[in-house]
Symmetry: C2
Subunit: 370 residues, 2 copies
């Protein structure tokens, strides 16, 4: 195959030399030729952690594949595999690392067993909003650190989608004080689960397919999922009465695209830039979609399905915030790389929050004044 | 030129046919050839409303030009002209409309004299945040309306940058009540100026180059500009004592890229998609940059230049909000297209604000609890 490609390329260069002569070597012709001699056709596989056609997250990954294929005019095609089609969801990281697939789409929290510091790049309790996360990654030193922790695995990460602030979860009893978390069995994976443990709850890790039944039978007391758009489709309102906000545990969950380093480095520069821009586009598109679609779903949940929308009390949020900071400090203390990432994360957090006190927060409150 | 191009293309197709034969028509070769025969070299000019190297806004436009040039591997090159280099700032719209330049970068508020409805696509007092604006444009029907109002001018608009929530302006006296706006001469262009008039102030429209001196000599009492990152560089702290927040008049100012319709439509599909993705990328990059850089500038203003940071009182913000809604309704009532855009804008506004009550706003307040 490579031999055949090289043969084609060699012949093209020879052929285009003839054209140069034919055209008298005009500036226009020279530039045209320069592009011609670089074309190859490359086929990539994208493995994902999402079920087929999963709204927002899975469809976002499919949109990214389509963009790369079309922007490259078919020079780089990307075929998407849902979770389990080529590899199981939780093997995406390894599959891209070893080159079984050239790229993947998922969330960095899934890889905490391999790279504890990855947890700072997906969903951080009381962490960044989507806007803040993107700013930290692209202008605050976040992305270079993410690249550094994935480099030993032969992987290049990029932000590839964001849900915005999620909901706080589905409960069958009211949360009136911190006491109500004591002994509460809640499906809450990742760092949020660690925080729950600190306030006396029992975090349970369940795959998506088991959540609904577990909640309905009382095997768990509560669950979080994403936000109204996904939660409505998932039917969680049939198994729980109260939908709480805000999603303190996932205030701006970032999805990731993973690229196999050799595969990415082997691309010509223009295709690398196309991949980067397509990923950045996918990152923005997902947030735009969730922001636009959550309210209609929320209205359906409240008006058609009699879901009771409730805010966690201040006392509870304060305690969760305190427990979140403790949890993050423990994660940071466990290994030097996590500490390095956390130091960057928290320094940026202090600064961007100070700025958002006088901008985003001040405005979003001012416009609610009567 | 076109004849020469067609000649080159014709010869290329002929030449690649020979290759097909030479390679025995393998699948690989066929695909390679398909891409080869479409290459052209196109040179575009981008005119902008920004001074050369203007931080954030002008550099954002330059980044966009570079992305398009590099992602297309030089098949589509874009040369940037600062305001006045090819055409004056306020002639960008016309220059791209008639094809003097193939694209432009600026803000839709500049064209209100030609297209009153354009004002809903840049800076709207008490309007959308950056996240909300992007969601309305790309998933809420905003962009199709923007395209519709620019179509008669042979122009295709796209969002190409956002400043986030701006600051409320620079003042030499405190604003303690609405009375303090009476007779206040403030440089405040666009819809914000109309609102100021309603609360008794005197809006003044000054080009950037005259603001500093006017403020220093007392010819104006106050001015707005952008936010700390630009305001610090502009030296406004030398001419005013108080910096007020929030920027109620520009809560998520959107920059625009304008494309000449014939020039855009003449691009092959892959280049069109490259232009779209590069613009979407530029849209995100600018917000990331402002979000990351404003706080350091704000700290310098307060700590090194003794600027006094103040929030507008609730009473003032309430009155400005009321006056803003009146202003928008008047703009809408003036022509059917403005009404159509405003109807879409305000319907989306109700929905996204309802969602952000339980997500972005609820979270950004919860994390400030002790």
């Amino acid at each position: 195959m490579d031999v055949a490609k090289n043969l084609v390329r060699g012949l093209l260069i020879a052929a285009t030399s003839v054209i140069l002569v034919a055209c008298g070597g005009s500036e226009e012709a020279k530039k045209t030729v320069k592009s011609e001699s670089k074309v190859d056709v490359i086929h990539w596989k994208m493995v994902t952690t999402w079920p087929k056609n999963f709204p927002g997250l899975g469809t976002g990954a499919e949109g990214l594949a389509k963009s790369i294929t079309e922007m490259s005019n078919g020079r780089l095609t990307v075929k998407v595999y849902a979770a389990g089609e080529l590899v199981p969801a939780l093997e995406v990281f390894d599959a891209v690392s070893r080159g079984t697939a050239q790229m993947g789409h998922g969330g960095a929290f899934y890889w905490k067993g391999k790279v504890p510091a990855s947890q700072f790049f997906s969903a951080v309790p009381f962490g960044f909003t989507a806007q803040e996360m993107n700013s930290w990654l692209h202008y605050g030193g976040g992305l270079p650190l993410w690249e550094e922790i994935y480099a030993p695995f032969n992987l290049i990460p990029m932000a590839a989608g964001n849900t915005g602030v999620q909901m706080g979860g589905w409960f069958n009893k009211e949360i009136n004080s911190l006491e109500d978390f004591k002994g509460l069995k809640m499906r809450l994976p990742g760092l949020g689960g660690e925080v729950l443990k600190k306030v006396g709850g029992i975090p349970v890790n369940l795959p998506g397919g088991e959540i609904f039944t577990s909640l309905q039978t009382g095997a768990i007391d509560a669950t979080e999922w994403v936000g109204p758009y996904n939660d409505l489709a998932f039917g969680l309102y049939k198994a729980a009465k109260y939908n709480y906000f805000p999603g303190w545990h996932e205030p701006g969950s970032t999805m990731e695209a993973l690229y196999n380093k050799e595969a990415f480095d082997a691309l010509p520069k223009d295709l690398q830039l196309i991949v980067r821009a397509a990923t950045r586009q996918a990152n923005a598109v997902m947030l735009d979609e969730f922001t636009a679609r959550n309210n209609a779903a929320l209205e359906t949940l409240v008006n058609d399905h009699q879901v009771i929308l409730k805010r966690f009390p201040d006392e509870v949020l304060s305690a969760l915030k305190k427990a979140s900071i403790e949890t993050l400090e423990e994660v940071a203390a466990a290994d030097p790389m996590s500490q390095k990432v956390y130091d960057s994360f928290s320094a940026f957090n202090r600064k961007v929050r100070a700025w958002h006190q006088v901008s985003e927060r001040a405005y979003i409150n001012a416009r609610e004044l009567n």
